[in-house]
Amino acid sequence: MDLNYTPEDIAFRKQARTWIEQNLPKKEIRTLEDRLAWHRKLFDAGYLGMGWPKEYGGGGARPMEQAVVADEMARANAPAPTNSLGLGIVGPTIVVHGTDAQKRRYLKKILSAEELWCQLYSEPNAGSDLAALRTSAVDQGDHFLVNGQKIWTSAGAIADWGLLLARTDTKVAKHKGISCFLMNMRQPGVDVRPLKQITGSSEFCEVYMTNARDEKSYQIGKLGEGWAIAQTTLGYELGGRALARITNYASQHSRLVEAAKRMRRHGKPLIEDPLVRQKLGRIWAEIEVERYQALRTLTLLERGEHPGAGGSLTKLSYSELEKRFMELALEILGPYGQLTEGAPKEFQLEIDTAVGERGSWAYAYLWSRAGTIYAGSSEIQKNVIGERILGLPKETRADRVGGKA
C-alpha cells in the first residue's frame, strides 16, 4: 500500500495542468461550435480516447493518466469535451466488440467529434428492467427495419449516430433476444424530440424510430449478444471520472464554505456556527472517502482488473452521497440555494455541476435526484450487490417463476 503518486504521474499531472492553463477557453462556451473547437484542441493534445488503442487514434494511456487528465480538467473548471457518449460508451464498445472495419470507420471520428453519438438503450417501459425493451429490429435480408421508442437519450438532438439495443428475436427469453446496432440518426425514420426535465432544461431526448433502416454492417457482435455487450459497456467510465467527480464535489464544498463565510447569524459569520461546521465536516468526510475509494478503483484498473459488480458499490455510493450533499448545501444556503435567477453573486455555484453544465445550486440540487435513478437505480445496484457480491439468493419474481403478479 503506497498512496503517493509516482514521480511519473506527478510529472504527467503537471504537464496536463500546464496545458489546460494555457489552452483553457478564455470566454464561456455558449455554442456547439465553441465546444467542438475546445474538443478538437483536447483531441490534438492527446487528451481524448487516452485509453483506446493507438492504431485507431487512441493514446494507449494508463487508467491513472486518464483519471489525472479528467481531474485536472475538473480542477480548472474546464468545460467538458463534446461527444461524451461517443467517448465514454460507444467508442469503448466498438473497441471491444466491433469488427476491424467498424473500428477503422468510426473510432477516429468519435475522437475528432466529426461524428457525434448518442445511446439508444432505455424505453418508457424498460427502465430498471432494461431487458424488457420492445424496440424491434427485423431482418429484411440486406438490412434491418427498426421500430420503437427510446427515452433518456442524451445528446439525441445533435447526434449523427446512436448505439442501439433492439429485439431481434421475440421467441427466446427476454435477455437473449436483444442485439446491438449502430443507428444512423440522420434518416427520415428517426424522429428526435427534446425531453424537458424537472430542472427546466432538456439534456435528454425521446427518439421515435418508424421503419428506420439499419444496414447489416451496423451490427455489433452477434445477434442475441446485445444484452451481454450492454453489460460490459456499463462501467467503462468508472476510472476515468473517478477523481474528477470528487474534485467537482470539492469545488462545490469550497463554494459552500465561502457562502457560509459571507452570511452572518447571531452577529457572527455563519461559518462559526457549530451546526454548519458539523455539516461541512460530515460531508467533507464523505467526499474524501469517495476519493479514497476512487484510488482503490484506480489501483484495480492499473493492474488490468475490472471492478465488476464492485462498480455497483461505486455508483451507489457517489449517487447517494450527491443527494445528501445537495440537501445539506440547501440547508446551509436556505432559499438562496433554490434560486435560478436573482441570486447574489456570493451565493451562486459558478462551477460545473456533475453533468458538466455550468449551473446553479438549484440545478445541482434537482440534478442530484437523477443520479440514483439513471444507469441502474439504487434499488438495482443493491440487487446486484446482494446477489453478485454477497451471494444472497435471488428474489422470487414473476418473470422468474412464471407466475402472474
Partner: protein, 375 residues
C-alpha cells in the same frame, strides 16, 4: 378530547378539494408559470366568493370567523394542488399579522379588503443573512416628522409584486417596529428572485428612505418583536399544512404509480424496496398530519404548549416532507424526473417552503429553549 375533524371541517375540506380539482388543475399551475403576475385574478375572485380569503378573519371584517384548524385544512388542499398565488401571503402573513397587531382602523381597512379579494398583502421577514430571529433585523426606520423613513434590504419577499401592502419590520428609535408599506411607494424597488417552485414568486425588496406615516405602524412602536414571533409561529404551522398537502399528493401519486408500473413482470409496488418505502412515506405523512393539526388547534385554543407545538410542527414537517417528496421521485424513477409529469410541481412546493418561516434548526433550538426552561 377529540382529535378528529368535525362534520363542518370535513365539509370544508371536501369543498375546497372539489373547487381546486376543478379550477387549479396541473394545467392551471403550469399556465401560471408563464403568467407575468403568476396568478389568476379570476380564481382569486372565486376564492373571495367562496369565503376563503377571509376564512380566519372576524365576521365584522367580512371574514368567516373560523380558526387555524380550518385554515390549515384549506392550506393543505392548496399544497396538494400546488396553488399558485398570493393566498398564503395575504391571508396568513397579512391577515393574521393584522389580527395580531393591527389597530381597529387598520383591521377594518385591510381585512375586509383582503376578504373581498380587493387587496393582497405580504410580509418582508427575511434579510440578507436569512436570520428568522426578529431581533436580527437590520432595516432602519429613523423618525421623520410624525412618521418614519424606512431603509434596508429585504429578500425572498413572497408575492411582493402583487401586494398592496407589505408588513416590514425595521428598527425605529423606539426599537423593533412593524410597518405597513405600500410597495408602490417611492423608494421601494422590487427585483424578482426566481426559485425552483415557479408557482411561488419572490422579490428582493430594497427600501431607500421610504416615507411612512404614523398610521403605518402596526402595534406600538418598538414592540414588534412578540408580534413578529407570533406571526412567524402561525406562518410556520400554516406553511407546514401546505407542505403536508404537497407531500400527500406525492405519496398518492407514488402509490398509484407503484400499483400499475410493471418491471420484471410485476407491479413495482410488489417489491419490498418500493412497498416499504411507500409505507415509510405514509408514516411520515400521518405524523406530519398530527403535528400540523395539533399545532393549529393549540394556537387557536391558546394552549399552554402552543408555541412549542408550532416549532415541533415546522421542524417535523420539514423533514417529513423532504423524505416523502424525495422518495416519491425515487419510486417513480425516470418519469418523475420529467417536466411533463406533474410530480415536481408538488415536490418543489414543499422544498420551497422548507427553509421559510424558520428552518428546521431554528425551530429545534426554540423547542429546546421551551423544554429546558419549562422544567
Amino acid at each position: 378530547m377529540n382529535f378528529s375533524f368535525s362534520d363542518d371541517q370535513i365539509l370544508l375540506k371536501n369543498s375546497v378539494r372539489a373547487a381546486l380539482d376543478e379550477q387549479c388543475k396541473p394545467e392551471h399551475v403550469r399556465a401560471m408559470f408563464d403568467d407575468p403576475k403568476g396568478y389568476s385574478a379570476e380564481l382569486w375572485g372565486e376564492m373571495a366568493k367562496l369565503g376563503w380569503l377571509g376564512l380566519p378573519f372576524p365576521e365584522e371584517q367580512g371574514g368567516a370567523g373560523l380558526g387555524l384548524v380550518e385554515l390549515a385544512l384549506l392550506l393543505e388542499e392548496m399544497g396538494r394542488a400546488a396553488y399558485p398565488g398570493p393566498f398564503f401571503t395575504t391571508v396568513v402573513l397579512g391577515g393574521l399579522g393584522l389580527m395580531l397587531g393591527g389597530s381597529a382602523a387598520q383591521k377594518d381597512k385591510w381585512l375586509s379588503a383582503f376578504a373581498s379579494g380587493k387587496a393582497r398583502a405580504t410580509a418582508a421577514l427575511l434579510e440578507e443573512h436569512l436570520d428568522w430571529d426578529p431581533a436580527a433585523t437590520a432595516a432602519t426606520a429613523p423618525k421623520a416628522g410624525s412618521g418614519w423613513t424606512l431603509s434596508g434590504l429585504k429578500r425572498f419577499v413572497p408575492w411582493a409584486h402583487t401586494a398592496d401592502v407589505v408588513l416590514v419590520p425595521a428598527r425605529s428609535p423606539e426599537g423593533l417596529s412593524l410597518f405597513l408599506v405600500d410597495p408602490k411607494s417611492p423608494g421601494v424597488t422590487l427585483t424578482p428572485m426566481v426559485g425552483i417552485d415557479l408557482g411561488s414568486r419572490w422579490s428582493e425588496m430594497r427600501l431607500d428612505k421610504v416615507a411612512v406615516g404614523v398610521d403605518a405602524i402596526l402595534g406600538r412602536p418598538g414592540a414588534a418583536g412578540p408580534v413578529v414571533e407570533a406571526l412567524l409561529r402561525r406562518a410556520a404551522v400554516m406553511s407546514s399544512a401546505e407542505m403536508l398537502g404537497a407531500a400527500r399528493r406525492c405519496l398518492d401519486m407514488s402509490v398509484e404509480y407503484a400499483k400499475v408500473r410493471e418491471q420484471f413482470g410485476q407491479p413495482i409496488g410488489s417489491y419490498q424496496a418500493i412497498r416499504h418505502r411507500c409505507a415509510e412515506m405514509l408514516l411520515e405523512a400521518e405524523n406530519a398530519h398530527a403535528a400540523v393539526y395539533y399545532a393549529a388547534w393549540a394556537l387557536t385554543a391558546g394552549a399552554e404548549d402552543a408555541a412549542v407545538a408550532a416549532s415541533i410542527c415546522k421542524s417535523y414537517v420539514n423533514e417529513a416532507a423532504r423524505k416523502v417528496c424525495g422518495d416519491a421521485i425515487q419510486v417513480h424513477g425516470g418519469i418523475g424526473f420529467t417536466w411533463e409529469y406533474d410530480l415536481h410541481l408538488y415536490m418543489k412546493r414543499a422544498k420551497g417552503l422548507e427553509p421559510l418561516y424558520g428552518d428546521t434548526e431554528y425551530h429545534r433550538e426554540l423547542i429546546t429553549r421551551h423544554v429546558t426552561s419549562s422544567r
